[in-house]
């Protein structure tokens, strides 16, 4: 197969150069206890110099396996069935380990998802950056320090010398990822593999990292393989895109063509699942003339409050505020989106309402004034249910789905004892799961299925308010859409109010009636969803909206 030609070749590049990376007919299989699993089948890819190939796929599609195959770091149970991995025309598979060690970090480098785990917490950032320079460019430690500072300056770090002396815990996520990127470009590599480099970062930081990546690519002419599940993101950074599904590349071509006119059903489905703020799936707006169901007044949460002894020994210790004077109302049947970066206090509000966090201030729920967590009785707890982010963690691994779903029924006496069994079947049907799932354990279900169970459990209590704390963010794009759809339907049918906490602005604009924006524990903006694009929005809301990539839609 011929390499996909870039639409506009860079001016200085010769026309028929060998691509930096070329993968030909590559197949990989894992031997597992449950039999062989084909992770990659007949993969053909090419990344020319200065270009970025976006590799898009859902979890388990084999995209990370390919990255590790190129890095020549496969687990012992991996079996390469066929194919060639060519770096500048040389087959990586045929190279001895000694040469691979020279290539890793020097000619191919990698940027991982989470900078807080890809950096060694016990080494200074400068040492980790310098290590590559000393190892591959044979610099002296002093020269490595000088070069490292220059590299950090190139990645937009303001005080490189100070950053070099810091430990990872002393730097923010964005700064750490900049250090990782500086390390990746340190030896002028031919190819950089990015494995979801912005997934662990905040929207605004992620935007800055992407801009940085674009600038460095233009400066250095490095080829990049950009692995991501986020189509919006890929459409922003990549020239070409390859869509991978169950180990096979189903569609490949220039970014614009694939996103505008997808040829394959899978690609079309994937694109359709990406949240589009212009396409509302939320229900009709609630009646806001009635009294609100929930009213928060001056909710303040302090974390890390010291005991009197600690205060005495270490005066002046800072108290972290998880939330500061947060006040807003939620009407019956309304879906309010709460957005913000991590640490903005949005999950703190969820914990307060779920009765998991002490607070000061007043919560008025259905006309009842509740001051403090102790006032939350069983009646309140029944009426307010919470669905957590990670379905793996929110279902007890040692209980069957039936036990999990029967719990709210028994606890609140929602239905008489003999009706519990049929009720579980009804609930499973309502979240579109087969009835035989009742006998299964959570680990036998996929992430999306588990999240449906968690939603079913919340609605089993027949609540009046459901708090959804990032319930879609650990799911794949296509699953995300169906879970969100399901939630909206259930919420609309039962006229339950919902507090939908998320960092995905596109998604929340599809679902919510109103959106609350939080930052540093403060509610900075609260507006009707239709007014999201209005010019008089809070500047921070504007920044958030601008940072989110909106996918160019296929033209119908």
């Amino acid at each position: 197969m011929s390499a996909v030609l870039p639409e506009r070749p860079p001016a200085e590049a010769p026309v028929a150069q060998t691509p930096v990376l070329e993968v030909r007919d590559y197949a990989l299989r894992y031997r597992t206890g449950a039999g062989p699993v084909d992770a990659l089948k007949a993969i053909d890819l090419a990344v020319p110099r200065g270009r970025t190939l976006g590799l898009v796929g859902e979890s388990g599609s084999g995209k990370t396996s390919l990255a590790w195959a190129i890095m020549r770091y496969l687990p012992a149970n991996a079996q390469e069935l066929s194919g060639r991995l060519l770096l500048g025309g040389e087959d990586l598979r045929a190279m001895p380990t000694r040469r691979i060690l020279e290539i890793r970090g020097a000619r191919i480098s990698m940027v991982f998802q989470d900078p807080s785990t890809s950096l060694n917490p016990t080494l200074r950032l400068g040492d980790q950056l310098g290590e590559v320079l000393i190892r591959h460019r044979k610099l002296t430690p002093a020269a490595a320090f000088e070069d490292g500072m220059a590299l950090l300056a190139r990645t937009g770090i303001r005080e490189p010398a100070a950053m070099m002396r810091r430990y990872p815990y002393q730097a923010s996520g964005g700064e750490k990822q900049r250090v990782v990127i500086a390390t990746a470009i340190a030896c002028n590599p031919d190819l950089i593999i990015f494995d979801e480099p912005t997934t662990a970062l905040d929207i605004v930081t992620a935007r800055q990292i992407l801009d940085l990546f674009g600038r460095l690519r233009d400066e250095t002419g490095v080829a990049a393989l950009y692995i991501s599940h986020d189509l919006g993101l890929v459409s922003r950074v990549a020239h070409e895109v390859a869509v991978i599904h169950q180990g096979e590349i189903v569609e490949r071509g220039p970014c614009r063509d694939v996103f505008r006119a997808p040829r394959r059903d899978y690609t079309r489905a994937l694109l359709a699942a990406v949240p589009d703020p212009a396409h509302r799936i939320g229900g009709p707006p609630p009646d806001r003339t009635a009294p609100p169901l929930l009213a928060l007044r001056q909710i303040t949460v302090r974390y890390g409050e010291q005991s009197w002894l600690a205060r005495l020994l270490q005066p002046g210790q800072k108290v972290v505020r998880g939330a500061k004077d947060v006040s807003f109302d939620v009407w019956p049947g309304e879906l309010v989106g709460v957005v913000g970066e991590s640490g903005s206090g949005k999950s703190t509000i969820a914990k307060v309402l779920a009765g998991l966090q002490d607070f000061s201030g007043v919560v008025t729920f259905a006309g009842r004034r509740l001051e403090g967590r102790r006032a939350f009785d069983r009646a309140y707890r029944r009426a307010v249910q919470i669905v957590f982010q990670h379905p793996d963690a929110s279902l007890n691994p040692r209980q069957t789905i039936a036990t999990i779903l029967s719990r709210p029924l028994r606890l609140y006496g929602t239905v008489p004892r003999h009706r519990i069994r049929p009720r579980i079947a009804e609930m499973l049907a309502r979240v579109r799961l087969p009835a035989e799932f009742a006998a299964r354990y959570p680990h036998q279900l996929s992430g999306g299925e588990k999240q449906r169970v968690a939603i079913a459990r919340a609605f089993a209590a027949e609540p009046r308010l459901v708090i959804c704390d990032e319930i879609t963010s650990s799911l794949d794009v296509s699953v995300q859409a169906s879970v969100a759809q399901l939630l909206v339907e259930l919420q609309h049918e039962t006229a339950t109010a919902c507090l939908f906490i998320t960092h995905d602005l596109n998604l929340v604009r599809q679902l919510a009636h109103r959106i609350a924006v939080m930052r540093h524990g403060v509610l900075v903006d609260l507006f009707d969803t239709e007014d999201a694009a209005a010019p008089d929005r809070h500047p921070y809301t504007r920044t958030l909206l601008d940072a989110v990539p909106v996918l160019a839609r296929p033209t119908h």
Binding site: G33, A34, S307, A354, G355, L356, F376, D377, R378, R381, R382, Q385, I386, F388, Q389, H390, A393, S394, L395, N396, P397, R398, Q399, R407, P408, L411, Y441, H443, Q444, A461
Partner: protein, 273 residues
Amino acid sequence: MRELLRSPPGVVGAVLLLVVATAMLLGPLLAPYDPQAFHPRARLQGPSLAHLLGTDQFGRDLLSRLLHGARATVAFGLGATLLGVLAGSIIGITAGVIGGWIDSVIMRILDGLLAVPDLLLTLLIVTVLGAGTGHAMLAVAVAFTPGMARIARSAVLSIRTQEYVLGAIARGESWAWIIGREVIPNAIGPVVVEATIRVAFAIMIGATLGFLGLGAQPPSTEWGLMVAEARQFMFRNPWCVAVPGVAIAFAALGFNLFGDALRDSFDPRRRHR
């Protein structure tokens, strides 16, 4: 149970424990000689047809002694561990669930006890209570408590912040349900594994106490005591030390492997791999 026997270590562990259990239940019936009978003309002999595993310094048949001793030895190990695990788990789970200053106080006291070597602590207790198997068992249990409490507490702490526990709290579940149904079933794994490993230690400490004259008393056939008694003759007949030693090792290995397999079968996520 079927799941348990599917893994090779589980099978080996189960077989070893089966052998030990047989010796415990039927040992006295299977033994060819009276364990206390002296055979003055056959002292410190290696294995022969008359004495399959040889004889000790008084000419007592080692196989018979071994079979008789299984009951006392394993019962001591199991009993001491069970008591220690129970006390430790209760303390650890209480500390882990309550948290705050109560947790700090309990754990600092246990840290203090942990700093004292097991054997020393046991000796101290036995010296106060007086010698004998029952006291020795109690002493070993007390010595095990701090370590088990620490393990139980750390298991509880890691479970306590899981979302299913938070969910249960948010639902308004009772503490009994949260601890009994949400926390303990998920926290029990490391405790069980540690307990099975400790059975072996308990057997060894019991033996040591016997050797020092504070635990099982001669002419008991307790395995540890057998090792201790035969120690000075080990260069004339290594069998009299090796036989009970190997028996202890096999029993310990059996408990260990079985415990590992047990943990895996406890965990539904591992069960189907």
